[in-house]
């Protein structure tokens, strides 16, 4: 069964001064037990989508189901199975992480014993045990964020919505959050997260969705998305080639002391062969998610700009 199913979902914000079409007919499914990483530039509509799914914002059109329950019609059934960390949410400063988790769980209806056990487990999973009794007001920003993650992870929610859960976390802390998220997915919980760290989306997500100005540009596993780009190889050469020569294969970018360009497989082979003959230093690798993102979103932006030119 799908954990989330959105069909032609749209959202238009309205206020007295105007409107903003934040989502334009987005259709997306998230299988149960998967980790979906939603990426996109600032203002792309990630938070808007996540808030509609987590029943804190009403959509303007289309349909969205969580575990088969409509988020508008069957809100209560949805709410019994989800938990969310909103973007820029902050913990109560007069509690310590242990209390934060404990009271969040008893608020959600867990018994005291259950809340206690779950709190200890979450503290240990997220590496928060040594800070468990430190007041939030004395914790660093990253530790506060981790305490928020621990709060929702500790709950029994089957689907977790995490809006930029790792913003401000150090590399080690980020990995402990990843570990906790992976463990949750193994336990058949579904994770919907947004992030600006593409390496994170790549390392963590079983599925990736790219949103740009309210439109879903790509969705699928890392490999499926890589196939969508025209140039799945990243070629870097130093010496042995002129710019003009490389322009025959793509759009080379000068990186201080070498050229970088994205190519298809055939061109990558050809450049490699030539580099070998000429004794030039060369590296060829599949594109990273960041490269894919820039290619997909970049194409969308430039297409739009062309459109604007025609209109002018």
């Amino acid at each position: 069964m799908d954990a989330l199913r959105a069909t032609a979902l749209s959202k238009q914000y309205r206020w007295s001064g105007g409107t903003n079409q934040a989502l334009k007919s987005v259709s997306l499914t998230v299988p149960k037990g998967s980790i979906l990483g939603l990426i996109g530039r600032n203002g792309a509509g990630k938070t808007t989508f996540l808030r509609i799914a987590s029943t804190t914002l009403l959509p303007s059109g289309g349909k969205m189901d969580i575990f088969g329950h409509d988020v508008v019609q069957e809100t209560n059934l949805v709410r019994e199975r989800i938990a969310v960390i909103p973007q820029e949410s902050r913990p109560f400063y007069w509690m310590n992480p242990r209390e934060l988790i404990y009271y969040f769980l008893t608020l959600r209806g867990h018994t005291r014993e259950d809340a206690h056990t779950r709190a200890e487990q979450a503290l240990s999973e997220l590496g928060l045990l040594e800070y468990a009794d430190t007041l939030v007001s004395r914790l660093s920003g990253g530790l506060r964020r981790r305490a928020m993650v621990a709060m929702v992870m500790a709950s029994d929610a089957e689907m977790l919505f995490l809006d930029e859960p790792t913003t401000g976390l150090d590399p080690v802390a980020r990995r402990s959050v990843w570990e906790a998220i992976r463990k949750a997915a193994h336990a058949q919980r579904t994770i919907f997260l947004t992030t600006h760290y593409l390496d994170e989306a790549e390392a963590l997500s079983t599925r990736i969705a790219i949103l740009e100005r309210g439109t879903l540009l790509a969705e699928g596993s890392r490999e499926e998305i890589a196939q969508k780009v025209q140039h799945p190889y990243r070629v870097v050469v130093s010496g042995g080639f002129t710019q003009g020569e490389l322009e025959g294969y793509g759009e080379p970018t000068w990186l201080e002391d070498r050229w970088m360009l994205f190519t298809g497989e055939k061109d990558a082979r050809e450049i490699s062969r030539m580099a070998l003959e000429r004794g030039a230093r060369l590296s060829v690798a599949p594109v990273s998610l960041e490269d894919i993102f820039l290619q997909i979103v970049g194409k969308d932006i430039s297409r739009d700009e062309e459109g604007d030119d025609e209109g002018a």
């Binding site: 808030r51 987590s54 029943t55 804190t56 914002l57 009403l58 809100t75 209560n76 709410r79 019994e80 989800i82 938990a83 969310v84 960390i85 909103p86 973007q87 820029e88 949410s89 902050r90 913990p91 109560f92 007069w94 509690m95 209390e99 009271y103 969040f104 008893t106 608020l107 959600r108 209806g109 867990h110 018994t111 007041l135 709060m151 929702v152 709950s155 029994d156 929610a157 919505f161």
Partner: protein, 249 residues
């Protein structure tokens, strides 16, 4: 998980009422400061004759402050901490959250309540019936204050607005209407205006029960006062319910 109303309400009372108190015991006397300042001024300026008004006004003000802190906390949790959103996306229903919050704010007013109830008993020597009337009035007033706090919280977007609006509202509910003085002190032409404030009706009840108003409290008048209080609370709740952005549009 299904909603467990009682567990949720108790959790909020503990987390939002008792825990902050344990961390910062000054919260306990915080709600005492305003009513005591008024009591002190009234005693200095008016002498022992008027002190009854300082006490009955203090009771009303103490309960009303529950509404003010409820509003402040709810706006803070919604706008600054985004905690409300975490509650919305959970099995906990809006009514449970508001009830829990309103009860947790009550915790801070316990000292003020105790002090002023004791003072009123010493002052008025009222017996069973009077005490019952005062208690009933305070409960109605608590419902009204919570409704007011909830309504305001749905309209005020952030704490900046709160700091601006809350004192103004407080003045028009406690200082201007005859809460700290008998309504007979107002010129007859403006007296009807005083009845626009629900606190006038509450003060009328408390002053009557304490036997300090010029006209004794009749059963009919008492029921009318209580009815108006309850009605205004109901209207406010209705407005809040209709207008509250539990889920953003």
């Amino acid at each position: 998980m299904k909603e467990r109303k009682l567990a949720s309400v108790l959790s909020i009372i503990a987390a939002n009422g008792f825990l902050p108190l344990r961390r910062q015991p000054l919260f306990l006397i915080n709600t005492l400061t305003s009513p005591f300042s008024f009591l002190f001024l009234i005693f200095i300026l008016g002498g022992p004759d008027l002190i009854g008004y300082g006490i009955s006004g203090g009771l009303v003000l103490t309960i009303l402050s529950i509404g003010t802190s409820l509003q402040g906390d709810m706006t803070h949790y919604k706008a600054d901490l985004k905690f409300q959103e975490m509650v919305v996306a959970s099995p906990v229903k809006a009514g449970t959250y508001v009830t829990g919050m309103a009860l947790s704010e009550f915790v801070f007013s316990i000292p003020g309540m105790c002090v002023f109830i004791l003072l009123s008993v010493f002052y008025a020597h009222y017996i069973f019936l009077g005490g019952l009337i005062v208690l009933a009035t305070l409960i109605l007033l608590w419902i009204f204050a919570s409704a007011l706090g909830f309504t305001l919280a749905t309209y005020l977007a952030d704490m900046r607005e709160t700091f601006m609006i809350a004192p103004i509202i407080s003045i028009f509910l406690t200082v201007v209407p005859p809460v700290y003085y008998p309504i007979s002190r107002l010129p007859p032409v403006v007296r009807p205006l005083a009845y626009l404030s629900p606190t006038t009706w509450a003060a009328n009840l408390v002053q009557g029960a304490m036997g300090i108003s010029s006209t004794p409290l009749t059963l009919g008048q008492g029921l009318l006062d209580g009815g108006v209080l309850l009605l205004s609370a109901a209207i406010l709740f209705l407005v809040a319910w209709k207008k509250s952005q539990w889920r953003e549009r």
